[in-house]
């Protein structure tokens, strides 16, 4: 009895100590992520701006066009939305369904006041609206409003994987020129894989050398890994721009040696090469450090034993050393891969047009195209991928071993 309550008390104490940070992470970190995920499916702007119109659009339309009530409702609600400055966001969202609708809606909202007197005299909006813009005669315009008025939508996620819904609500592929996201996701995965492999190829011998050198040499070499690790990401990116640009040190050197003609300097930055080089540089320490910590614990006598039993060096490496270093390979590779698929800063600064990854597309939709719902959905897909990798990492390596330094 006493023991059980003692155990409970210790449990409560441990949980209580962790609770403040758990609560803080919930509020300052998970709540923002939740907000992002909500936005990817929840789009209330049109529904809030045109509630009565949308109600009138429900049900069956006779003769292709909605009932007159819809014309009357939108004639009331568009000017009201203009008053509350919601007309721009509303028009933008309808326009994503049917291009051209943005100007139709903004124009109608502006001009409707001029037709009020005729409407009061008894002329129906059903006739007046097409006078402002003949788009109101087309069923597609109304269908676009009805579609944009859905409060909850899977459209952003469909768009994020190059799908869409057609007029009848069936899921279809986007037209070929708008299929860009799946290939961008694939490109991001390919680049991440490439960077991971490069980091492993470069990092494995480095970690091996550090782990097997004498104590003082090992400390010196470790510093060569830790200095870039601690140096600001932006500093390292600046350094690569300075080194790799057309008038930069590497090109100067190549010209001076005579490998490259002065008028044919290599473009190594603001393209995919730049992204690859800079990302590999930034992420290499994340490969070397976990590899090193595993290799340090592999007893040196194992290789000697293999050799004394007649194994050739390659054989001894493949059969004795490599299997023991695998935990480090897994830890380093997964970490580098996880960090690279979400990479933003380096591609944004040195990737140019061709070296952009999925994160950069999210930023583009946030800052330039202002399609926040799509940005959120792309973020949701990316988050899902990272979460899956994180769980694999936990299974294979253990989150406790996650160490960035």
């Amino acid at each position: 009895m006493k023991l059980a309550s003692d155990r409970t008390a210790r449990k409560l104490r441990a949980g209580g100590l962790a609770l403040p940070l758990v609560a803080f992470v919930f509020l300052s970190f998970l709540a923002p992520l939740g907000n992002l995920l909500t936005r990817s499916v929840h789009e209330p702007v049109v529904a809030d701006a045109l509630p009565e119109t949308l109600r009138a659009l429900e049900g069956k339309w006779s003769g292709g066009l909605p009932p007159e009530a819809a014309f009357d409702a939108i004639a009331r609600e568009l000017p009201a939305a203009r008053e509350t400055r919601q007309i721009g966001p509303t028009a933008t969202r309808v326009n994503r369904r049917e291009s051209g609708m943005r100007s139709v809606i903004v124009k109608t909202a502006r001009r409707i006041a001029r037709f009020e007197s005729r409407a009061e005299a008894g002329e129906p909006w059903r006739r007046l609206l097409p006078e402002i813009d003949e788009a109101w005669e087309r069923p597609e315009s109304w269908q676009a409003i009805r579609a944009a008025g859905e409060r909850f939508t899977d459209r952003h996620y469909l768009n994020a994987v190059d799908l869409d819904r057609d007029a009848s609500g069936d899921v279809v592929r986007q037209p070929a020129e708008r299929r860009i996201y799946v290939s961008l996701f694939l490109r991001t995965l390919a680049v991440s894989l490439g960077v991971t492999v490069l980091c492993l190829l470069i990092g494995y011998p480095l970690a091996h050398l550090i782990a097997n050198a004498s104590a003082s040499t090992s400390r010196m070499l470790l510093l060569l890994v830790l200095v870039p690790f601690w140096t600001s990401l932006l500093v390292r990116t600046t350094a690569w721009i300075v080194l790799l640009q057309q008038q930069g040190a590497v090109n100067d050197l190549l010209v001076w040696i005579g490998l490259v003609a002065d008028d044919a300097r290599l473009s190594m930055i603001y393209n995919m090469t730049g992204t690859f080089v800079a990302m590999t540089h930034v992420l290499l320490p994340f490969m070397v450090l976990p590899l090193y910590s595993v290799m340090r614990s592999i007893p040196k006598v194992h290789m000697d034993a293999a050799a004394s039993l007649g194994a050739k060096p390659t054989q001894a490496f493949l059969r004795v050393y490599w299997p023991q270093s695998l935990p480090g390979v897994a830890a380093g590779s997964l970490l580098v891969f996880i960090l690279s698929i979400g990479y933003y800063i380096t591609p944004a600064l040195v990737g140019g047009q061709s070296g952009q990854l999925i994160s950069n597309m999210i930023a583009h939709h946030m800052q330039t195209s202002l399609n926040w719902g799509l940005a959120a959905a792309l973020g949701g897909v990316l988050l899902l991928a990272v979460l899956a990798l994180y769980l694999i990492y936990d299974r294979l390596v253990g989150i406790d071993k996650l160490r960035l330094g």
Partner: protein, 279 residues
């Protein structure tokens, strides 16, 4: 002597290749950082070594880009003040909450230990663009976008995992009988923590705090999405410098940041060694 260490030719070649590869690897890691330092003393507004610099002509070297940092109109002073304010405040929050949480997580009685650890460390691996966009949405709805407080809270969440990791690692080597000894001598739990445990885990706490500070001091994406003109930090300032018109002043700032990184690195290594030696 010569005879005893002679290896077969193939082995020697293999060893030579291996060392060359390693040399190239280390050069790749360190060269960009080494190149940027001398270039920051270039008297000309170029990003490459001028002939004068290579001849070590004193005329070709200058401190003009360092003077440019000090000019108030370039905004580096204000950026430093912002970076320090946000970084220090975020570090304080992250260190207090992170250390407390680590004390709980290190206990074998901790309920849902794995889940809690996974949750608390998740900010480290979440793509920063998602954090930035989410923070923009969420903190805007609270009216905290474009405020220092909003950035401090967001940065504290990014820094806390580092504190959790370093402190739990230090606690793994902590001898819990010391706490019982303190209790038997009449110390309450808080006194025992403050007078016995905290001094012993202090190196871990300090290096966690340094990690958290460095994370905030180098963070640009959240600032980019959430910060306004009043919250321009050093990385934010460098970001626009790199995007718009890369100026040699950037190289001078970069050099100072490299020096800062060296100081942090040496401190962390010193703390690590202190933490390892039994007190």
């Amino acid at each position: 002597m010569e005879h005893s260490v002679r290896l077969p030719l193939a082995r020697r070649l293999g060893r030579r290749t291996y060392l060359t590869l390693c040399g190239a690897g280390f050069a790749f890691l360190i060269a960009p950082i080494l190149v940027i330092v001398p270039l920051s003393f270039n008297a000309e507004p170029y990003f490459t070594f001028t002939e004068g610099m290579l001849r070590l002509d004193p005329e070709a070297w200058s401190l003009r880009w360092y003077e440019a940092i000090l000019a108030p109109e370039n905004g580096w002073g204000a950026a430093l003040a912002n970076s320090l304010l946000i970084g220090v405040a975020a570090t304080v929050i992250a260190t207090i909450l992170g250390t407390t949480a680590a004390l709980g997580l290190a206990s074998d009685a901790m309920p849902f230990r794995r889940l809690a650890m996974g949750l608390l460390l998740s900010p480290m691996v979440t793509p920063i663009i998602i954090v930035g966009v989410g923070a923009f949405f969420f903190y805007s709805s609270l009216g905290l976008a474009q405020t220092h407080l909003g950035l401090i809270l967001a940065h504290a969440a990014l820094g806390a995992p580092f504190v959790v990791i370093t402190v739990t690692a230090t606690l793994a080597g902590f001898d819990h009988t010391l706490l019982r000894a303190a209790a038997s001598l009449g110390a309450g739990p808080f006194t025992a923590f403050r007078r016995v445990q905290l001094p012993l885990i202090a190196p871990g706490v300090a290096s966690g705090a340094l990690f958290a500070f460095a994370a905030s001091f180098d963070e640009v994406v959240i600032v980019l999405f959430m910060g306004g003109l009043e919250q321009r930090t050093i990385p934010r300032q460098m970001w626009s410098g790199i995007r718009e018109q890369i100026s040699p002043t950037l190289l001078a700032v970069a050099t100072l940041l490299i020096v800062f990184a060296l100081v942090v690195l040496v401190t962390v290594e010193w703390l690590r060694r202190r933490g390892e030696t039994p007190a």
